[in-house]
Symmetry: C2
Subunit: 182 residues, 2 copies
DNA sequence: GTCTATAAAAAGATAGAC
DNA sequence: GTCTATCTTTTTATAGAC
């Protein structure tokens, strides 16, 4: 628990990276082993099956969300603004974990789908006290989901999304805050 | 062109249904053939490869979007309200096609990802004249994306989303209209 | 802990009969 | 147009050496 072998984390990183960059189809045990610089046998020492690999990635997501909830609660610019802003993925650990687990969910993993649901519920709990009512909560959460969705589609295939950034993002956040403030 | 064989549509329906219900991983040629009630050879007469099957599904999506844009433009309750409302998937043909193609995109299909981008651009063009500015357009589009995203996660694995419906949905739409009206 | 070698199953695709 | 039979490649997993 306290000092998991580096190789194990390296394998998990490789699995995550392939899921993000090339999709669920490409994330085979073979490809993961190659990318992590170990043999297939070496990989299977750390993760006895592909299910175990997926479970470990989901576990990683849960841990990162614990941390994220702390960050959200402590955001100086306000919970809603921070939450929206952090829904644009920038490639930090939690962004990567969410993307990778979403790919698993689309591939058909029920465990991944359930984990995403749970994460969304926890985020909802963090935002709820900071918005006017349920309609406002829905607006904020769905906007966040929309940002995630676009990153999801972009990461695999496309040059870049038409997602707002800079002044456009500030304008969007201002609009949402005005519409949802208690 | 005018009267494509029924069997061909049946195969495509089966492919779509498996993608929606069980994810990309489960949508093998074998499973599709079985579900469509034909042999693998029979399937391959209609679609010479899995790529051809995917291409046909993407083509179906494009056709359904053509129709959808007409419906949006003609919506009596207003373009924005109709667009948001129709972003909650109810299992009609376009909902199913969007879901299935999204699964392919997550699996790693670049063609599917590109098609989804194109669809989103076309929807943006339909909504743009009916909102105040770019921030408002982003809000409406991202909200719609968020609704799609939730349906995507639910369809495979979960009992039901916490998505707004009935009065809650009306409240959300009213909120968005007020925040985005020109 | 990590490797090689190998088995076992599944997936995509071809050939040719009917 | 649809089938059966077969082939190839890929993918997951096991066994046992180092």
């Amino acid at each position: 628990m306290s000092r998991p072998p580096h190789a194990r984390q390296g394998v998990l990183d490789a699995f995550e990276a392939i899921l993000i960059a090339d999709g669920e189809r490409a994330a085979t045990m073979d490809a993961v082993a190659r990318s992590a610089g170990v043999s297939k046998g070496g990989l299977l020492y750390h993760f006895a099956s592909k299910d175990a690999l997926e479970a470990a990635l989901i576990e990683r997501l849960r841990t990162l969300v614990d941390q994220d909830l702390d960050d959200i609660a402590a955001a100086p610019e306000g919970v809603v603004a921070y939450f929206i802003r952090s829904s644009i993925m920038l490639g930090n650990p939690i962004d990567r974990a969410v993307t990778a687990v979403s790919r698993l969910a689309q591939g058909g993993s029920a465990a991944a789908g359930a984990a995403l649901h749970e994460v969304r519920e926890r985020w909802a709990g963090a935002v709820r006290p900071h918005v006017r009512d349920d309609a406002a909560l829905n607006l904020v959460l769905l906007l966040s989901d929309g940002l995630y969705f676009n990153n999801l589609i972009d990461d695999t295939s496309m040059p870049a999304a038409a997602l707002p950034s800079g002044d456009d993002l500030d304008a969007l956040i201002a609009l949402v805050r005005a519409a949802t403030a208690p």
